[in-house]
């Protein structure tokens, strides 16, 4: 019995419980490709797109698995569906818009092992979201991910000009920035109710 309104699902997924900063999903690309603003926004948008498609697909799979009484196949089918979705999206974009494909190109295969996508599928199943709720959830999560990535990239571009102690260079300083961002996002708590 989940009766959350669509708006509160959206706010919850994008700001209050931001996938990166509160659930720690998709940390790898968050630390990996957040060096430049342009790449960060592209990565964010491709993840959002794949999330939307994967969300609809896994919703269908879940209905099918419930009908078949085979809950133990959930994880395997989700991961297979996500991997093939990414592949299909890649081929589709290549055919429709080669220009877009060149800009997204290398990011698409990386998304398969992005825990944010599988996390999204698992959360929407655990919470018993309906189709529309799932789509809104995916949209919110994707935009929240993009926002976190862009913020991080903006800060890191500035950080390059700063003098960081030897031992803190690289991951350590990024983690501290992420921690501060995460604290900032806590200010959104309570918006959704």
């Amino acid at each position: 019995m989940t009766e959350q309104s669509l708006w509160s699902i959206f706010i919850n997924a994008s700001l209050i419980n931001n996938f990166v900063l509160a659930y720690f999903l998709g940390i790898c690309p968050f630390l990996g490709v957040s060096g430049k603003l342009a790449t960060a926004s592209r990565m964010g948008l491709s993840v959002t797109f794949v999330m939307l498609v994967a969300s609809v697909c896994t919703y269908g799979i879940n209905v099918l698995l419930t009908l078949l009484h085979a809950p133990y196949l959930q994880l395997i089918s989700y991961i297979v569906v996500i991997a093939s979705t990414v592949q299909l999206v890649e081929m589709f974009i290549k055919k429709i818009s080669p220009a877009l494909f060149r800009t997204l190109g290398i990011f698409l295969p990386l998304i398969t092992t992005n825990c944010a996508i599988l996390g999204l599928a698992l959360f929407q199943t655990n919470r018993g979201y309906g189709l529309l709720q799932s789509i809104v959830f995916a949209l919110g999560a994707g935009l929240g991910f993009t926002l976190a990535l862009i913020l991080m990239a903006g800060i890191r571009e500035k950080l390059e000009l700063a003098e960081v102690p030897n031992i803190a260079q690289g991951t350590a300083v990024s983690l501290i920035v992420a921690g501060i961002l995460s604290l900032t996002f806590m200010g959104f708590a309570g918006l959704g109710n």
Partner: protein, 211 residues
Amino acid sequence: MSTKPGEIIVTGPKDTDEFIKGVWAQNPVFVQVLGMCPTLAVTNTASNALVMGLATAFVLLMSNVLVSSLRHAVPKQVRIASYVAIIATFVTAVDYIIQAVSLEVHKSLGAYVSLIVVNCLILGRAEAFASKNNLKRSIYDALGMGVGFTLALLCLGVVRELLGNGTFFNLSVLPGNFQPWVIMLLPGGAFFVLALWMLLINRLKQGGPRD
């Protein structure tokens, strides 16, 4: 995957070296920065960290064993797909085993048990090590990486629980007038504690910057 194939040859001839490597020189969390999602998410108590570490180590061991034994049979084109299927199988198994042993533990870990599937550490070891090495070395490698991962998780879990709640594995250890640092248990605290551990380890490694 930051492990380059070349590095495997460089490591010593002894099989036990593969074990030591995972715990310290190539520690999956502190050095390779892999598997960040569970590292940060479930380390708010030491016991959660321990269960998560052991579950990951188990999946890592089983997938390394299977991948290594099948390494001559699996064609190159479909190897990633087969690895993912193998990993997903063992994660599902672990998920059910944890539920059978203790529902409480399963509830406190939530969806993060299933998310072991996308832990880049496991796929990384399957692709970079187990698919190229014999069974014995792969087992040592998995044990080393598993222990290294569990230790790293415990490092975070113990610190966060001690400072954030004043307890150590649910036992009160700090004096009663200790005011818990709640921030340690919040998501932000996870990032800070991990960053501080990395600073410490970088310092211990001669204070040079990481590559």
